[in-house]
Subunit: 339 residues, 4 copies
């Protein structure tokens, strides 16, 4: 941590502050100059509250030097983490595709889509049973019944299930029925929920919040990991910017950035980023080329009659075409497409 | 709703679509021109899914004309709503100030601050018992014990309590102990929690999310209201922009905008917007001048040793000075300061 | 400046870098710790290129400690700057209002508005002769003829003129005819134009760019000042955010922030920020309450037939009503309204 | 265009407005419903000012249906535009790479880099002679001398030159010496400059502004095209968002979006987007995969000693490695890499 003293800070004030830091067991280096004194602090600074120090009357500014995350930090865990679920592998050179409808609507619908998705090369089935909707008057999902329909589809196809949890009271239900538990963008900083899923045995797919920084996103993973669940998949799904043409703005830089900061796998959801089915393919391709470890794609048998997000869903046929291109590009990028 | 047809749409396709809308009981007006046909739909369009219609092969674009919110809509409820809690009144010409520490730390701390805040003119006591923190390694609040200390402070001063709920499992606890239940910015679209607090008997203070539009914010109020709880106070606390000098960017335009869109009261939290105590006063003044119905201010007896957000907290003395200015400006703006 | 070394940096590399900095005449303090070495640099670090240093193989990160601006920096010029033009005074306790049409349309129009504006209390006349329009097919302003019509209005009323320059080739024309030269938001980083107006003898009104930080804005003022023209007025007119309800988002925090960073006066243009005439009053009030040194308001005799931005223009009558409220609030805030 | 009437609008007011539109030669369709009347306007609505109409007392809202751009609009020009300069071809299936230093520093520097870039497969040489810098105290470029050094490099290698113009007074100089004239992000809405380069005979490379929408960007191209110069290349270089880890946020969605809206070619500058050399490769790959028509890459012989932007520059060796990957991916994506 670096503490910049005010020009008006006297030598006594500086000495007192230095002493306080040293008493905390920190190394303190002092650089004195005309009108500016800088303190460099080294040691276990994670316990220091920079806000508090910045309130000292003699302090002008405090700058953190070390990352506030540990378990998710690549520095302390240089090897890529790989998440294995059923046949799917995500990370450390393995690339998997999650596909399925925005929301579960019926047994035929979800099982049919699961069959088509599997045939095309998906290894995980997504499907929403509890749906976060902007309006209370929109379809809110089938609830527990939706989870049961996903289980049927799993029995029929062998594809493990990814589904979004919205409430801590559903933890037991999800622990029993779901293979990968998704925390949605709007709940990325629902810390109560993060702690709960951190005590589950299932991998967590953590979507990035609409306007959350890379560091905040990793800190939310850290919440989960600090409770004991180290199987976290990060999923970029577009951020909110001034541009309104697309539903969100896909931030592909997140892929190389997160890979530098953390050892956790990163996948991309081009469907929510674009909000329009015709843009899913170019964004999916961009994600692979930038180094993503997987994709999450919305597929629906009848998009114009989907109960939610039909306009961004691919038909099974379109998904099949996409997967051929995915396969070629994953191969070129040196990763293994798990099928 | 307005449906713009593709230039390539044939007369038959247009006619079929018109028929479908008419069968739904809607009035449909057709404007034909070279290379462009526009359908105007009037009637109960709330049940129409614009995403679905936009997927029709002959449709280029769909534009909503009516607001998706009802209970919170000023059009259907022209009178200002006023929330009354203890002596405090918020809205419809009444202005109240909520003050207190970021987090409850001890009985003396919170009761002392409550006494000072009341003396200076606050009519509600805020205090965090459950704290949403970016890091799992930061102080997470005293929990239920914190609520009990707030109750002590209430008994000592008569000030009703505002505190943040983070989990649906805490609903009973908050129903018994808290007078105004706060939903934080990070939970603005935690729809599960919104539904829960919508079934409570206590007024809800709903903070705007970091990057949520006015409409999304009102839709979250609509979630609460649609469950039966129509006592919602909206609180702007700064949005996330590219500017990093301030913690967030206070959006004062939210005040006149929300007042035009909705009948619900709007208050401002300048402490979280600025993130720096020296900026609280100018932002508080701006809020009053722009027409806010109240303020929420962080006050701490010992900011440099506060367990959270000390750098944005006022001392009781600073709060006292601020309240004198608040009083003068509220008077000038034609509202009544409740004390 | 602070240089954080990589964990892998060897003692020899560190020593070599320290020597290099010392040879540049800088004081260097070294803080050594396990896995982290921090160098604090004090002295004339303005000439150091942090980007370059960050490229050293042994360096992890470089953090600037001092502001990159000098002439605009309050640290080196603690007194408020006041700009005086005709009767108008802006800054250092004096508050002036600039009013007039978005664009000059005819002699009667601009002289009539000038008379009304003066009567209501404005001390400067704004009017666009060269208009920056998003579309090449929109009205582009009357050009030099517009400046001449402004001069007529000045002769009729005594109000000095504020008008926007868009090209360095117009510098002589503006030097002769205009009293305050406006640089628009879209040209805030048109560095060629900044240097040109920096050599003019007239005060410059520098609008903040749509997505420029406070520091970038002050650096653009520094461009003007570094060429010799120290009379710069900063004007906040709304920034671009995700919110689309308003044309832009007025950032009132800019007022206290700029006043802390710089000695230059700050005024607010609520008309462009809101983009809707009914929102001009609350935003103008907020600006005064937050400490602004002046306002810039669009006034038009016939808004529905204005050649540009009619929807955000006040009528002379509305402006008169606004000025009464402005007067009361400026008085309360302890500034002097210049009339 | 669609005009939504206020609920309070009387039949007479509506009829009067309809008559006015019809007198302008427009088709007007009226949809009447309880509490809502919608007018659909078809015809030459480009001349209508939506702001003006929205000010009619009986009008609630006006929505544009047609794009405000013509010459750049794919609807009126379905074929891809291809720009040909020297050996380079950009667009319509041809992919070219522009490479070179951020700024020209010496003859050896720029000619050396040009040789290396050509060998690796670049077909255009970039180099800044006039540099837009945030600080007036930073290196501002070599000016006209820099253009002459670029000409030397062109003579030595045959590579045509891309360089940024910052002032309308430099138009003649650039017309003579430069092959592709770049308009920088900060000048994207410097309309005076756009008109000037619209009268040049050389292709214009128009960078997207830091916070400009796709539509505004295309409207700036329209400014150039409306003056007669239809050879415009659009270049995405990252937008400004809340995320500060990267210098800017590369918006890959711009590629498919612009290709749908316009027939103009789109290239990507991953160097400025990332601001860090190690991130250039993944972003370049993402751009190709998303369908870009070319890349613009900063290459420097000695990045740590570059006069500007060294931290985002590749060495010639790194550029060579990148070009091998570029070649493979362009081939896979079905475009032809021009070498």
């Amino acid at each position: 941590m670096v503490v910049v003293m005010k020009a008006s800070a006297g030598q006594q004030e500086i000495a007192a502050l230095v002493r306080r830091f040293e008493e905390m067991g920190l190394e303190v280096g002092v650089t004195n100059g005309i009108g500016c004194t800088i303190l460099g602090l080294v040691g276990d600074t994670a316990s220091l509250d920079s806000g508090k120090i910045s309130m000292e009357p003699s302090v002008e500014r405090v700058m953190r030097v070390q990352e506030p995350y540990k378990k998710a930090n690549r520095k302390f865990h240089p090897e890529d983490t790989q998440i294995v679920v059923g046949n799917a592998k995500i990370g450390a050179g393995a690339f998997s595709v999650i596909a399925g409808p925005c929301s579960v609507e019926s047994e035929e619908q979800v099982t049919g889509i699961a069959r088509d998705a599997k045939k095309a090369g998906a290894t995980l089935l997504r499907g929403g049973a509890f749906k976060p909707r902007t309006s209370p008057y929109s379809f809110q999902g089938m609830g527990v019944e939706g989870l049961d329909l996903l289980l049927h589809a799993k029995q029929a196809t062998g594809l493990p299930i990814v589904s979004e949890i919205m409430s801590p009271r559903m933890v037991d239900e999800f622990e029993q029925k779901v293979d990968v538990v998704q925390v949605g963008a709007r709940n990325m900083q629902n810390f109560d929920l993060l702690k709960e899923v951190g005590r589950m045995s299932k991998p967590i797919l953590l979507k990035r919040g609409l306007s959350n920084s890379y560091e905040e996103w990793i800190m939310s993973a850290e919440y989960i990991m600090s409770e004991g669940n180290e199987n976290v998949i990060l999923c970029e799904r577009g951020i909110r910017t001034f541009e309104t043409y697309t539903r969100n703005t896909l931030d592909v830089s997140a892929i190389p950035a997160i890979k530098k900061m953390s050892h956790l796998p990163v996948i991309i959801d081009p469907s929510h980023a674009a909000g329009m089915s015709w843009m899913v393919e170019p964004l999916a391709m961009a994600a692979i080329a930038a180094g993503a470890d997987g994709l999450m794609i919305e597929v629906h048998n009848d998009p114009p009659n989907a109960k939610c997000d039909g306009q961004q869903s691919l038909t099974p046929a379109q998904f099949g075409t996409l997967m051929e291109k995915v396969e070629a590009l994953v191969a070129l990028s040196g990763k293994e497409l798990i099928k």
